[in-house]
């Protein structure tokens, strides 16, 4: 196709679209941060429920990120080294599945595994009387399911970036597989593992859909926001939302710093 559009018209159109998008994103967030007065914020934050919900979110999401680290880094390493052979593409697809699953769907799916009538949940309930739903374990399960892929993908990219000659050099100098993993791969992928950890943590804090189905209580911040909203208690909703937003933005900026940091320790 061939249009005779002047340079000015073309760029005016582009910048207009761009300005709309930037406004659309910034306006609500700025409004939310400036909305609650200090008095309102302090009052809401002196409420025990509010504090508990934010504390719950921070603690469970951090535990989730730690678990993801210990389970995800080995998996990422195996994927990066191509050790799944012809199953590689398949494993890759499976790992990324949670990114494609709507969170309420994930919640329902997990319910039928760890719920009282779920495959694993039923076993624990019938033999030990242990119920998962409505506990911190359920929250962590929900968070882990939706946030794990971020850590695996990031760590895998990091391991893949490590030149094969570093590994060979380590081997020929006498190091074992584990020594090479620990002394070469882990430090050289530090940046990727750290950003994967932060991404997973941020994703876990934010989770609502899966958590609300598996565990309305112990209440987490996103659930508290919704809970207060349904009870027309908008001032609590706003206050928790503003605090949660600031926490998430902090993690987000931390992540940017890690990514932009020089690779050398």
């Amino acid at each position: 196709m061939h249009f005779k559009t002047s340079k000015f018209t073309f760029y005016t159109a582009l910048f207009t679209a761009a300005a709309l998008v930037v406004l659309f994103i910034l306006l609500p967030l700025l409004r939310l941060i400036t909305l609650p007065s200090w008095a309102l914020l302090l009052k809401a934050l002196s409420d025990k429920n509010t504090i508990v919900s934010i504390a719950n979110s921070l603690i469970y999401s951090f535990l989730t990120a730690i678990i993801a680290l210990f389970l995800g880094v080995p998996l990422a390493f195996l994927m990066a080294k191509g050790l799944f052979g012809r199953f590689e593409k398949l494993i890759e697809t499976v790992i990324d599945l949670p990114l494609a699953v709507p969170h309420t769907v994930a919640g329902i799916a997990l319910l039928f595994v760890i719920g009282r009538r779920g495959v694993i949940g039923a076993f624990f309930y019938n033999h030990f009387g242990i119920k998962f739903t409505g506990t911190g374990a359920a929250i962590i399960t929900a968070m882990l399911f939706v946030s794990m892929p971020y850590l695996v993908d990031s760590a895998r990219d990091g391991f893949k970036d490590v030149s094969a000659e570093f590994e060979k050099a380590s081997f020929i100098l006498g190091a074992s597989e584990f020594a090479t993993f620990w002394n070469i791969f882990i430090p050289l992928s530090k940046k990727h593992i750290e950003s994967g950890f932060l991404l997973t943590w941020a994703r876990a804090i934010s989770e609502f859909g899966a958590v609300v189905i598996l565990a309305y209580y112990p209440i987490t911040a996103p659930v508290e926001i919704y809970d207060a909203f349904t009870q027309y208690n908008l001032s609590v909703s706003i206050s928790v939302a503003a605090v949660l937003l600031l926490i998430c933005l902090t993690i987000f900026l931390l992540l940017r710093m890690v990514i932009n940091r020089d690779a050398r320790p």
Partner: protein, 354 residues
């Protein structure tokens, strides 16, 4: 004493393969493997190091077959083309890395000795990305030599250096290896580098070692056209032996007879190689001591750096390289008649293997 010996080693890597590699390296000797990129040099080193398993054959170090040992237990050192220095460790940590995995009592002694030998004692605390190309080169060497490997493998280790550093480092390497009586297999695609290192040269092409010998043997007695052309463009003629008497042979070539040394049957088909720079070009037919004389017509002239490449048609097409000075003095022009002469020993005759 043979420190390293390969016996009929064959390797398959996808569509590429190493075919029946046989050679040995004596204690303290440097063997240079010379070949184009893709000829299999790095595959060869990786096989000796244990990163690639051969399909068949034996690799002996001090007489012991090490084919079934992992890389870490072969007693082999390896300086990679990229050097593969660990960027997250300083120089000392890089050099000491391997000592953690070996029982070495006098680590500090060794570190002091090797770093003073290589003159890098002053950079022990620096990180790799602050080093010059030459310094990196020495650190990579120190990291390997501190483990006192039986054989040191070097994969184009000067690839990343500037031309000036290159020749300096080569000389330093030679000195260090001599001092330590280090046995080395040195891989390069650079002919002048191979010359400069000295010692035996193994010419590699397409997964085979075509010839092993010192540089004179390879230049003046190439076993094939491939070996001959490693040192640049070469005249190649397929001829039928006319006569052979006590080592002096003759054959019909273009519009004349060519004389050469060898021991062939009459009527046998053979290949002759003549280096373009070994042919003398004149505009008048004066008598020379050279046994071979041809006359022809200049077909093409082109410039190749300080040399002029002249193509002469003489029943057969000869390529001749002459200096720009001669070119001017002789006032060579296209379509002018010229005379070629070359010595008996400038002709390298090889049996045709079909």
């Amino acid at each position: 004493m043979r420190v390293l010996e390969l016996q009929s080693v064959s390797v398959t890597r996808g569509s590429f393969s190493l075919k029946e590699i046989n050679f040995f390296v004596n204690k303290g000797e440097i063997l240079t493997v010379l070949g184009e990129n893709g000829s299999g040099k790095t595959t060869l080193l990786n096989t000796i190091a244990g990163f690639i398993k051969p399909d068949s054959g034996s690799i002996l170090i001090n007489g012991r077959d090490i084919v079934h040992l992992p890389p870490s237990e072969r007693g082999v050192g390896y300086v990679f083309q990229t050097l593969a220095l660990f960027p997250h460790m300083n120089v000392a940590a890089n050099i000491l890395y391997g000592t953690r995995f070996h029982k070495i009592s006098n680590v500090k002694d060794r570190l002091g000795k090797i770093s003073s030998l290589l003159r890098i004692s002053h950079i022990m605390d620096r990180y790799i990305n602050t080093l010059s190309g030459g310094e990196k080169q020495k650190v990579a060497l120190a990291r390997t030599l501190i483990l006192q490997p039986e054989v040191l493998l070097m994969d184009e280790p000067t690839a990343a250096l500037s031309p000036r550093e290159k020749s300096r480092i080569i000389d330093e390497l030679k000195t260090v290896f001599k001092r330590l009586s280090q046995t080395v297999v040195f891989v390069t695609h650079n002919v002048s580098e191979a010359y400069r290192i000295g010692g035996r040269i193994g010419v590699m092409e397409n997964g085979r070692i075509l010839q092993i010998g010192n540089s004179d043997e390879i230049v003046y007695h190439p076993v094939s056209h491939s070996v001959a052309s490693i040192f640049g463009e070469v005249n190649k003629f397929k001829v039928r032996v006319e006569s052979c008497n006590s080592g002096m042979c003759s054959a019909e070539l273009g519009n004349g007879m060519v004389f050469f040394l060898g021991d062939f049957k009459v009527c046998e088909k053979i290949l002759l190689f003549i280096r373009p720079e070994d042919i003398l070009l004149k505009t008048v037919s004066t008598k020379t001591s050279a046994r071979n004389n041809f006359s022809g017509i200049v077909k093409d002239i082109s410039f190749a750096g300080p040399l002029v490449r002249v193509v002469v048609e003489s029943g057969q097409t000869f390529i001749v390289l002459i200096s720009k000075q001669s070119f001017e003095e002789l006032a060579i022009k296209k379509r002018k008649p010229v005379f070629l002469s070359f010595k008996l020993t400038a002709v390298h005759a090889v049996k045709l293997t079909e």
